[in-house]
Assembly symmetry: C2
Homo-oligomer: 334 residues x 2
DNA sequence: CTGTTAGCGCCTTCAA
DNA sequence: TTGAAGGCGCTAACAG
């Protein structure tokens, strides 16, 4: 592959000049520029970005770390990030953490060693202290869906408490008073916040919080399934089960159907996230929409603004969830 | 961030020696190695991979190009690729082509300029000639789900013809003779092959191919929806509609249900791909399983074998589909 | 506006 | 087993 030297030789200019037209920096005489560009074309020249990055200490790449690649959630988020970055001609280097602290750390270090200009992280295993130390370093960091008190200006996340609140409030508004709740793992702050919102809605309506109708699971189908089975055998009445995410809701729905309940007449179900498969379910899953694509886009914009200095960009740190009423939930007041 | 110089100074050795322990190459005296490693630890040294890549002309990164990031299909594939690469301590640089020729080309060039050791491509817009020229270059290329006659040894793909065949054969075996088919875009070879397989199964069973019951759509929900509507108004009887992918099948199912048909009693539906949402549908979608994760993994293995010289690996170029019978299809023979 | 000259951080012969 | 020296392809002062 041709180098900048060959271009400069062919064009009859110094390599500094070639570098200048490459970065369309400062003033280069139009004729010279054309000569150089023609030489580049003839040689099919492509700059070696490793060399550029080494020399300039900038890579035009931003590193991304997500917990996983499969599944509907992070794909959408990545899509939002990538699309926005691309508009600015920046590229994404994507890495996976598998919700495992050492893999997350390893990925972050890989990104750092790749000299990315910034990192967008979606992590749940690594500690707050680690993140604080990381943010104190030189590479700008953005956090999606992770709240660290001292790092608010770098956090992009959903108002999970509000999401938990509106889901439960919607159920209450539709006449439900016996409400079961399948929570997410309580060591995750989003799961905790959703539960808090749920409790706030109950309190506001004067409904007592029922411990035995509240089960903490793992955000996965297996957990949702087990939780639903427990609920069905706990001898307490409930007309709706609210789940802290859609996967668990799907599992709950399956268990309920399998055990002979007719949905939504016998039981209403509400999810959280609004991932793509909600609309394929039967009945369609009522859920709380989380604008993942937009949140990914916003993280990318944060980088565009703070790293690539596009001052025209406004940053929104907290995104509001919205309740989507669909067939899986019924109004008991008719 | 500490450089190799500082490490060599602290350890009291030359930087060549540091480089050697870094690449655990040749023989370094154990004592020296320990001294160096201790220095690295103290300085929290991380090699700059841009510099490594520039000097060694190897990056330990493989470039990936997929059509999109959202949606259930490519996420799973990426997951398979990434996991396999990671076992060998190689990393993935992921890029998106949006099924658009110039974006695909741009992404490929980006990957090349990043000096990736190999590229795994899932492309549909770029031409065969372009790919041939690309493969003639120095960077090893693997193609997933794209057959180029002269490049067979670099292609990993599903036997789509067979997939089309078994879907239709399954329907026939269950007593269906009036069979509608919603095809994919015929400029894509996978869509074409699936249709060919469909026709082979028909021919084999002595069933005449019915043009008006065959509609080519776009592999998307909108296309599936429109096609199903056309079918419902075409005044020809059919007891099953076979779709060239699951998205169109989901849409077809929705349209059928909305127009009052009871599934699967009034109409059977079969999809293709077995993406994650099939099992959330109601009735559950019978479909042809495409082992996407495995195919991604195999592409990664190709790279591990041919680029990183792990000769122990065996490569499988063609993957076989399997039919998954589920509730959306009924046996008319009882 | 253009050329000269140092590096960027690391690998890799070649000698010792 | 180790060190010295040149170079990977490019950027960024600093002169001119």
């Amino acid at each position: 592959m041709a180098t900048i030297y060959e271009v400069s030789a062919l064009a009859g200019v110094s390599l500094a000049t070639v570098s200048r037209v490459l970065n369309n920096s400062v003033r280069v005489r139009e004729a010279t520029r054309l000569k150089v560009q023609e030489a580049m074309r003839q040689l099919d020249y492509r700059p070696n970005s490793n060399a550029q990055s080494l020399a300039s200490n900038r890579s035009n790449c931003v590193g991304i770390l997500v917990p996983e690649l499969h599944g509907p959630f992070f794909g959408t988020m990545l899509s939002g990030i990538e699309a926005e970055l691309r508009t600015a001609n920046k590229h994404a280097i994507i890495t996976v953490g598998h919700s495992n602290a050492s893999k997350e750390r390893e990925s972050i270090e890989f990104l750092a060693s790749r000299n990315v200009d910034a990192q967008i992280l979606v992590v749940d295993a690594v500690s707050d202290e680690y993140l604080q130390k990381l943010c104190a370093g030189t590479t700008p960091i953005v956090l999606i869906n992770r709240q660290v008190a001292t790092l608010q200006d770098r956090c992009i996340s959903l108002d999970n408490e509000q999401g938990g609140y509106i889901a439960t409030k919607a159920a209450i508004d539709m006449g439900h008073t016996d409400i079961a709740y399948i929570a997410g793992p309580q060591w995750k702050n989003d799961a905790r916040d959703r539960l808090l919102g749920h409790q706030r809605a109950l309190a506001e309506a004067g409904i007592a919080f029922n411990e035995t109708l509240t089960i903490a699971a793992d955000f996965r189908e297996t957990g949702g399934r087990a939780s639903m089975q427990t609920l069905l055998t706990c001898k307490q009445p409930f007309s709706v089960v609210i789940c802290a995410n859609d996967e668990m809701a799907a599992a709950a729905m399956e268990v309920a159907t399998d055990s002979g309940l007719k949905l939504p007449d016998d039981l209403s179900i509400i999810g959280f996230d609004n991932v793509n498969f909600c609309r394929y379910m039967h009945p369609k899953l009522a859920t709380v929409d989380q604008p993942v694509n937009d949140m990914g886009q916003m993280a990318a914009r944060w980088v565009l603004k703070h790293v690539y200095k596009d001052e025209s960009i406004a940053i929104q740190h907290i995104f509001q969830p919205t309740f989507l009423r669909r067939g899986s939930v019924i109004n008991t007041r008719g």
